[in-house]
Symmetry: D2
């Protein structure tokens, strides 16, 4: 295995990015290669380098790159002149997706949701969700949580915690209160109690909320995983105070934490769910907002969008649902592999007094230092492993391998990670500690 890319030089054709692409680009800075093709867990750059992908498009490629079954379904569809773009018209591809989602996902779980095809980005699904909650309740305030991440358009951005992202708004972000997530004040403080107290107090200044918007695991916020007990409390609090419970399952859903939904078997049912990222299965833009039928209260076209009928995504999503979710095998395997990952990360972390974070195949190591974590991930990239950080200070090294990775390859990637952590700790950081 030669994952090491060729040494980079001053390759002139890269100047096109400097010349024409906005400086807002980010991942391309820490991974300064140009990629051409990818299959499964591997990405290939234009200089012959091969990379093991522990980022998976931030959980957008849970089934790996260009999965053969999905790819073939899409090739067949395009070759047959299947509808690519159809606004929100009924199409064969949409029908197949709806049926499959009903048969494979909803019915077996005893869930009853309506599907809203929003514009095909997560932020759009979140915007639709909070608009709907405000419309249904007649209230304006939404409760979101510390370290939450929900998107970049103005409504979703107001729900996002990160100050740098928020600062980009250019206007004050309002109608949202950010409350402490599970464990935010340490294990002694039950933040659900704090929230309940304030919502129950007519003089707290916290207005009655339209919705409580929560991630079960905070992907961007540092892989904080809420406990089932806390989530149930939040669900109860929402109900008690007349608010809708919105679970943003964009990153944690589609199997990343084990089940198709991240909240399965936890004993509560959200009023609204947002999905995107791995929904299409192949990385194609696709987003959904699900809600209980009684909240299906938008007028026709009240929320619309040109690309809300991305039929290519319907095709690959249908293939993915059928292949991976028709029975429980995939889910069992992901959970088993998640435990494996957990065991390995815990061992690494313990060596340096670090903590692990996360749930299922969405786990990481909190190094406590953004500088250290950045040093490690940069060294990993040089060694052929694509891996990123997360958290308020980028201090958490985040393992988001494709769920379909085999155990051996997962081990290879973790070996690279372990080695780079050890090297980083041995050199500067260890020295600094003396």
């Amino acid at each position: 295995m030669t994952m090491k890319p060729k040494p980079s030089g001053a390759i002139p054709d890269r100047m096109i990015y400097e010349r024409r692409e906005s400086g807002v680009r980010s991942y391309a800075r820490s991974m300064p290669r140009q990629f051409g093709k990818a299959e499964g867990v591997w990405m290939h750059d234009s200089e012959g380098g091969r990379y093991l992908d522990f980022l998976s498009g931030c959980s957008t490629l849970n089934y790996g790159h260009n999965h053969p079954l999905l790819k073939q379904a899409l090739l067949d569809y395009i070759a047959a002149d299947g509808i690519a773009h159809g606004l929100d018209l009924h199409t064969d591809a949409k029908e197949a997706f709806l049926r499959t989602f009903e048969d494979v996902i909803l019915t077996p779980r005893g869930l009853d949701y309506r599907l809203m095809f929003t514009g095909p980005t997560g932020t759009n699904a979140v915007e639709a969700a909070i608009k709907l909650a405000r419309k249904v309740t007649g209230r304006e305030m939404v409760i979101a949580f510390t370290n939450g991440f929900h998107g970049m358009t103005l409504g979703a951005l107001a729900c996002t915690g990160n100050a740098a992202k928020r600062g980009g708004a250019g206007v004050p972000l309002s109608h949202v209160a950010h409350e402490p997530y599970d464990g935010y004040y340490g294990p002694e403080v039950d933040t659900a109690d704090l929230l309940d107290q304030r919502l129950s107090d007519p003089s707290s200044g916290l207005d009655a909320p339209a919705a409580i918007l929560v991630e079960t695991v905070q992907g961007e916020g540092g892989l904080n995983a809420a406990s089932p007990e806390w989530l149930r409390r939040i669900a109860d609090i929402a109900k008690a105070h007349g608010a809708l419970l919105i679970v943003d399952d964009i990153q944690a859903g589609c199997g990343r934490t084990g089940g198709f939904f991240s909240f399965e078997e936890m004993g509560f049912t959200p009023d609204i769910i947002t999905m995107a990222k791995s929904l299409s299965g192949m990385g194609l833009p696709f987003a959904l907002t699900l809600f209980r039928p009684e909240f299906d209260q938008f007028s026709p076209g009240e929320h619309n969008g040109t690309f809300r009928g991305n039929n290519h995504a319907f095709v690959t999503a249908t293939a993915a649902l059928r292949h991976f979710w028709s029975d429980g095998a995939f889910q069992v395997d992901v959970r088993r592999r998640g435990d494996l990952l957990d065991a390995r990360l815990t061992r690494i972390a313990a060596r340096y007094g670090f903590e692990t974070r996360g749930r299922g195949m969405m786990r990481g190591i909190n190094t406590g230092s953004g500088e250290l974590a950045g040093t490690v991930t940069a060294a990993c990239f040089d060694a052929g492993l694509i891996i990123e950080t997360s958290g308020a200070h980028d201090e958490v090294i985040k393992v988001l391998a494709p769920l379909v990775i085999d155990d051996a390859t997962l081990g290879v990637g973790l070996d690279i990670l372990e080695t780079r952590i050890r090297e980083a700790m041995t050199s500067e950081y260890a020295v600094a500690a003396e």
Copy 2:
């Protein structure tokens, strides 16, 4: 030619939409068929019906459905395991797109813009544009126009004029002032003068704007086409008052009005441009925000989004740019065909005292009545022609045929339209007028 679809009956499998798709769906209501495949200007339903498409995904399919060259480029790319999803990493497909956009679009027009790959929806491109304008100017208020349409997420929705769409927000939409568009108060009143007077008056209550956001032709707002003189005035006013000029070219761009940009040869250069819809050429989700290099001021990742690197769209967009825009032939042909369309619509309109609206291949007839326009478009659909309405009261019948349509087929569609208008006017409306 038998465009007439099979008579519809109570086909049970349609219940999936009732059962599972949100009531927010809209086009599917006025065009109650299920579509399977499409090529060029034709769409096919599941019952054997064939439809001539005068809607083109609201100008998303300017080159028709599944154009053979674009389709082949995409098939080849997928077959070779080309990167589908790459966050904002450099990829071969992105490089090719950037180079092509520079060579084919920017350089020949003497334009210098940076490209920001926003989330692949128009509303996201608009959100990025107004965030940037607010950041650059340090101001908060944006001026948009009556009947403008810019998207459904909270920041873009605040810029949208339509009351029904705005009502969906559930919170007050702020930081935007809606000013009268060109001709809004009739031909006697120069609305640019009105705007200039208020911006020049320190006691007008109109705060200094971060941006003026304008469509050159209002696609959803009734096909109102601003005059070049008015647009130049608006550009001058923006400059004089320290605001950035944003042209929302999502619907009017990509050749719809003749040139690649809708403002070409008008004598002004926008500070920011938003693009989406036909950008990918094949209906795939893709959006761009362009800005002058001096305004490239976002920090890395300050505005991001999972699907900002839709490489399938890069591939088809590149193929479309190369095929249609490498020389001026396509543009000349579109303009010629636009004149043809204009002549025909003017003749039809004149017969009933109606007015025409629009520019290039983005034209329509203002019937003055949403009920009448709806009757006509429904009858057209029954006759195998997909066509929609626009405007504050849905009173404008809107012709958005693919730009690649041949003259004969355009004529066939217009024949259908003309006949249905005549029938509608002969029956109830004529009767009512007696």
Copy 3:
């Protein structure tokens, strides 16, 4: 008559203002004297200077300073240990005021209003008015006008046009649209038509308003006087679109324009009226919000304030209502004197090609230049006449003499004004014009 004050020197005790009073002070800068006592139309400074008051506390002293009847009523009340402060408890003084207001003001005019004792400032009365309109209609947007002035607290400030005042907010001012006032676009354009068109258009982007808030004469905005026809149109438009009509009569009411209310005999009845300034008759803080009984919908205490029961003001207000408004004599006299003022100002203005502005005893000369107007008013002050400017550029010299001034003394003041205008025009401005 020796109105000329003693020449000022470096009097050390003035340093207390530099040392302790905020730089936000304003009038004290253009009138750098210290005043001790005042009676009727005269103010006296600490250096023996006497000043004729053509400012009247910006129309707060319509009955002059320390009117003997009001003063005696207040002295008697205080001497008898009358309640000074009673929150909103019933008091003898409040009862007397309510009865008098009913008998002297409401009943003779056939008006039926409820009185709300807000905090005793105009801005508080405006805040209560717009809160109530929003509560009653369930809408959020308020329409105010260019050059309108309604106060400095956040809700009222959002309705104020002046950019320098607005800039002090430190947050975006929202939920208000500023529309052009009568005559704003010149005599050819009926701005009521423009407003009606936009409110009638569901795609204009102008949300349905809770209220239209208007001054009949814009005191701070340059003495623009709306025509009765335009005001009736605005009243009709408010009604047609489900908005409440709020007349802010804080400066123009209490006789300043002739009648007790500035809109009398114009053929419409506001839904809400705000009053303050001359209401107490002696310059004591007092404000009222009046509304039709059907809009009396605040819950007990929903809007409150410590000083909403300023009983001293009730006492002087009652005395003023009884003395000046029990019959029509005062009103007739004010109108006659207003005509006198108009004739004189018109003559002066005509000489220099200036225009006059205003109505009743609220009139001025638009010099077209803030610098010129400031030169004139400064020279007037040196000559013993207190007079100020108004308008977006402070270009209007504003005559707000006490309504009780006798014709001769009014003439004395206008002589001073005329002379200073002539001097200013003869010297620099005339020279500059050569």
Copy 4:
């Protein structure tokens, strides 16, 4: 002593309130008498009843009603035709007030503040304070606290916690975050820590604040008294995070808690202080915003108001400062009497398992039930004692006697209170508890 008022009957002249006063009136409902005169600690109704005042205009009458010295100073001033209203012109009365405030209050305490004469209501002082903090810092968000009360105009109302008051706004109240006050989550949780953690976390979603606005004792919010330690922490947190510390001393200042300012001897110095209520000493409308000289950054007139120069209030305020604050005797006496009050209330409360609240002469008993507290205060009123409740559920009986009350009379009032509590507990509540 016959405090018992005459039995009330259906006195017809009260109908004027029903007919003409807005239903927003509140105190007049629970104290259905009409008052005529008052002196010291006593109020007299129109039916011969005499009431001991334990409300003091919500701490507006700290020196009692119509204090002879203040009353005489005002009578002399009015009799001599002293300026009543002078906008913000320099006057003898203002100069005397400024000098006295400097000599008696600032210099002895080593404090250096500029005084801004805002409109004469507490809410106006708060609006000016938060406008200034936003202007100085360039930030928009203000941190206020649970159960805080700061006024009814839109900017101050956003800082107020009470849901019923907030609901009156009719628009969402934004740019303010409400954080838990000292002790809000019980004695175990240090809410200053919670605040510091969130402000220190760039992903908490809590934007960097312009100001932290705090009452040292929450008068309307239930007499919660913050500890000096907590207040010092808040002051440190404000400083560390670049926010200005605003102490709203409108109710707790002017001697109510012992010192002239409520934060004296606590080891921190606010950046901005708001004052009103007892400032004039006689219940006349008067408010001040104080700030450190370096924050004196408003432009001339940037915040103004017609009644910002209430000279009558300057006169009585000057007399009050000289008489009560020239030496420490008054302060010593108030503290002693506060201890007396505390001892007595503690004894009463202990008997029923209630808790006491507050500090200095601003104390009360938390009965835990708004119904019980209301029953007691109503019974007190019938017995000739004016006393009110406070807190989110009106559950705290609040003793706000004039500070000048003699010990014996204080005892008389407390006897009434004690008896009514015992009666209430003996009857229904005790019965209910069986």
